[in-house]
């Protein structure tokens, strides 16, 4: 179904940032009507390659041809004019404008006195009809669901005449059902003659949606293969560089007493990000995984149990005591907290690793004396243990935490939360609150983080794992609950759920209660 003539040719693209080779002689072609999946771990060079294609960076070496004509480097406007459209993972829409206004924004010359709204509207509806992307042009973007916003982003690119569409991790924010709808749209678009580059690290959907798969590792193109006949295991091996053992589910052994209990908890805040009557019990020795599309109150739930928020109504008990919005208090009582935004909230990037490693406890008597003088020896010794136990690599204790890679930064945060004091080796955390702990990490680091959470559970902690990665929820949760619009379904064992029923609950379908899904 693909034509022989390539619409896009990348030849020997090389880009270095200092000693780091982000792209090393990458050559790729894209045919008309083809979906090419670009697969690779974080830091494999996918983003750099696409930024070069889109003119944000200039390659040190190599050339790009679009529809047979060379593309001038470092010029995003030329890329747009050549018919390259990009849909970013984080949308670039103005919430307070309508769909039509968003699409028109920037595509009309400033020199004309009035916008040609009627013409634009007609054209938008024509494009929408052609590619099967139904949309209401006068709807306000702020009122749309995430799936609908993504549709607007795609339409925006198509409206500007994109013939080559780059989708960056498009399913990261979608429910399984929305993802299916997106895949159907992609099918229709390639049938209309568009070409698509689909960036992802999810192996299953890559196999499902693409015709050809290109795998990047360490900046190099390590494999290129037709999707048909390739297996997930093969892809994973190409991505990581060695065979990846799949880990069997490790169910909870001994579930103990209730460690944390929420009863009808509401929080104040903006409508999208607040809790509206959440009830949940966490017991020692189990992992409760909370699925859901991000932006449905997960932040509020995580912040509540991290001591950054208090309920406006209802009761939130940790170890039998109500949470009072004290981060230091919860940390001091044995709550290990792993925030979603590791670089922005997890560490203070400008401070050295060792200070970050003891940040939660620097005021305790172990690390400072009665006059507030820091016991540097003890603090650094503890930090060294954290770094050693959790295999944090990069820079050393005195290097700023900012210099760590994502995986190592997450290891430092985990280590800070989970490493007991040397003098109290048995005082392990009794509650672990992990919000998107594996987001954006490479396969090795994901496995490490998940193993640490399992180890904490087996040592007797109650673990709350909030994630929008359905595979992680299904693979880790001893019980699973789904969050939508600030409400939480009852937490039920994985056997009670199917992917479809979780997807429905993520979309807020009331009838998707786990009991019925099991029936």
């Amino acid at each position: 179904m693909t034509d022989a003539d390539p619409v896009l040719t990348l030849r020997g693209i090389t880009k270095c940032f200092g000693p780091l080779v982000a792209n090393d002689g990458v050559s790729l072609t894209l045919a008309r009507g083809e979906v090419l999946a670009l697969l690779g771990e974080n830091g494999a060079g996918k983003s750099t390659l696409m930024s070069i294609l889109f003119g944000h960076y200039v390659a040190d070496e190599g050339s790009i041809e679009v529809f047979g004509a060379p593309l001038p480097p470092g010029n995003p406007k030329a890329a747009l004019a050549a018919g390259i459209g990009m849909v970013h993972q984080h949308f670039t829409l103005a919430d307070n404008l309508t769909v039509l206004e968003n699409v028109m924004l920037g595509s009309e010359p400033l020199s004309q006195p009035f916008t040609r709204r009627a013409t634009a509207r007609k054209r938008l509806l024509a494009v929408a009809g052609q590619f099967g992307l139904p949309v209401d042009p006068s709807a306000r973007v702020g009122n749309l669901s995430v799936g609908e916003r993504q549709r607007v982003e795609i339409l925006k690119a198509l409206y500007r005449g994109a013939r080559i569409l780059i989708l960056d991790e498009p399913t990261a924010v979608l429910t399984p059902q929305e993802s299916e709808a997106l895949f159907a749209t992609l099918g229709q678009m390639v049938a209309e003659g568009l070409s698509i580059i689909f960036i992802s690290h999810k192996l299953g959907e890559v196999l499902r949606v693409s015709h050809r798969i290109a795998v990047l590792r360490g900046g190099r193109l390590v494999a290129e293969s037709a999707a048909a006949g390739t297996t997930e295991a093969q892809l994973a091996e190409w991505m990581v560089g060695h065979a990846v053992a799949t880990r069997a589910r490790q169910p909870a052994q001994a579930v103990g007493e209730v460690v944390c209990a929420l009863h009808d908890v509401h929080t104040a805040g903006s409508t999208r990000e607040r809790l509206r009557g959440v009830s949940l019990e966490l017991r020692a020795g189990e992992i409760v995984a909370v699925a859901g599309v991000s932006g449905n109150g997960q932040v509020a739930l995580a912040e509540l149990l991290s001591g950054l928020r208090v309920p406006s109504h209802g009761e939130a008990l940790v170890f039998g005591e109500p949470v009072r919005g004290s981060a230091a208090g919860l940390a001091g009582r044995g709550v290990a907290r792993i925030p979603e935004d590791r670089a922005g909230v997890g560490v203070v990037g400008d401070l050295p690793q060792w200070e970050n490693a003891v940040a939660e406890r620097i005021g305790s008597r172990w690390f400072s004396n009665a006059f507030g003088w820091v016991r540097r020896g003890a603090a650094r010794a503890h930090a060294a243990r954290v770094v050693q136990r959790f295999d944090v690599r990069g820079g050393g204790l005195d290097a700023p935490a900012r210099a760590l890679s994502g995986g190592n930064m997450q290891k430092l945060i985990l280590g800070r939360a989970l490493t007991p004091l040397e003098a109290h080796e048995t005082e392990v955390p009794k509650l672990v609150v992990a919000h998107q702990p594996t987001w954006g990490l490479d396969i090795g680091a994901v496995d490490f983080v998940q193993q640490q959470l399992i180890a904490a559970r087996d040592a007797g902690a109650a673990v709350l794992l909030i994630s929008d990665d359905l595979d992680e929820v299904l693979g880790m949760g001893d019980r699973i609950a789904v969050m939508h619009a600030g409400q939480l379904t009852p937490a039920e064992p994985p056997e009670h759920w199917t992917r479809a029923s979780i997807g429905l609950a993520m979309a807020g379908a009331a009838e998707a209660a786990p009991a019925e899904a099991a029936a």
Partner: protein
Amino acid sequence: MRLEKRPQVSHAALLLAPVAAVLFTLAVSGLLVLWAGAPVGRTYVLLAQGAFGSVFALTETLTRAVPLILTGLAAAVAFRAHLYNIGAEGQLYAGALAAVAVGGLHGGTGMEWSPYVLFPLMMLAAALAGALWLLGPALMKARLGVDEVVTTLLLNFVMLLLVSALLDGPMKDPTAMGWPQSVALQGDLELAKLVPQTRLHTGLLWALALAVLVWGLMARTVAGFRIRAVGANARAAAFAGVPVTRTVVLVALLSGGLAGLAGAIEVAGRTSYVTLDMSPGYGYSGIVIAMLAGLNPLGVVAAAIFVAGVLVGADSMSRAVGVPTYLADVIVATSLLAVLVAALFTQYRVRR
């Protein structure tokens, strides 16, 4: 052309950056000297001699450096916590007023306390007055998100008007023949001279001790960790359990207190009474000095002596070769810009 982050910052670059900044500053200022029609080399030699060339010059420079060290510390502490205190000038006057209120006003009213009691009281009152003058803006920033740059800056003018009102009113010295100046401090509260026959007083020792203390506080204590954490990333600091509002208040008290002490030490060491022109902008110069020092409390000492040297040296240079003393302001301002740009280039490089 674009700036690209350097993967590694070399030590050589860190050492060379200030040297390059100084050379650049001298070159740029040299153009102005040429414009004024004076020989560049001789002008700079005279400037250096005027600042450090004799015992007298050196003591004058150090005398000038004392308030600059203290306001520099005030700015450094606050800026480290991302509390942009532009109001050290007002806090300095608040401290000076408090010092005279405790150490001078009651003269002849019968309160005859020992100077050993009165002196610490005077210093404490000055620090407290400066601290309180900054507390309002700090609380408004922490609680309501009010921009402290605006509030602290505007409070400077409120303070100047207050000083003016007091100097013509309750604090007016009846023996000053109508000059707007406050009553004088009791003689036994004045700071001793460090070098006889000069103006250099023991306030220098106070300033140096405070610089070391502030350095220890920032680098070695829990409070210092909190201040640095809140300044570098308040959200991450709050997550790790740092009480952010309390830390901001602590910083305000420290910063305002240091500026207040600058006022008290100027009064006790040099002027012995408050006038409306006792500070030629020490509070604002403190900001420049803190930035020159990279917010390092020990660096503040060096930066303050540098700035004081340029200011004092320019006076005698000006008399000798006829280049206006404004050259000093140009040198200080250019050096600040040069240091900031040099610091940028240690972290980034230019790519086509």
